[in-house]
Amino acid sequence: MKSCVIVFPGSNCDRDVAIALEASSGAAPQMIWHGETEIPECDLIVLPGGFSYGDYLRSGAMAARAPIMRSVVAKANAGTPVLGLCNGFQILTEAGLLPGALMRNAGLKFICRDVYLKVENSGALFTRLYSHGQIVRIPISHHDGNYFTDAAALDRLESAGRVAFRYCAADGAVSAAANPNGSLNNIAGILNGAGNVLGMMPHPERLIAPELGGSDGRALFDALAEALQCA
């Protein structure tokens, strides 16, 4: 699998996701500076977590207008898989590749902790090694993860099964109590209509080995490596 990780000024999970990609696929991704204009031929594009441009103005707003993003949008529209984690998800919504916006957490505080996610769509390229309804434990670490979109768009997401992950309790209950940031319908991650773009606030790259406290994030990268290995 040939993957590219886009590095914006202020990205800080670029190294972490590069390690996860290499652990699953055996190949180190190519790191692409935001000021470049063309993404080389690749099987996967990753927008990493962090604080691109310091989260100034709005999280992801300025990164979404970086020179490299034209190429990201073009490749995404042409079918290249794109994964946006945390700040990467924020950038994808700002760039219009995914609907909605990530607003300030309802509790107003930054939150870093493990949460439980219910896998709502296990048919996607990214989620195919999870089973439908599986409960996984993956950390979140964000200040602006409160997913919002208008009622019509929400309806489209839900009816098309484009919600990939939902925040839930350890027993799988999707409730207000298990919603860490106020996201509509406990949404933690969504897919685009074609299924080749996933944005999620949780950080699967942070739990890929027992010594880090868990391995539930690993399957997402394994799934990509497996599907894209021979591509």
Partner: protein, 80 residues
Amino acid sequence: MKARIHITLKKGVLDPQGKAIANALSHLGFDGVEEVRQGKYIEIDLAGSDSTQARARVDAMCAQLLANTVIENYAVELDA
């Protein structure tokens, strides 16, 4: 020429910061605060003196970067 831009959350979009401000005001004893909505204020110094042109440019700036029109509205004032 100076452009003053107010960016506010659209009606109906939950504003947790506004809610927190309202709570804090009532803790401080300010009664009768019915709702608080918070937003951003941006000042831009522009070259040139054509206000029609300036307004068009600032509108474009708002639409392309300064406001996220999924959740935000903006209003522009121009000072000569």
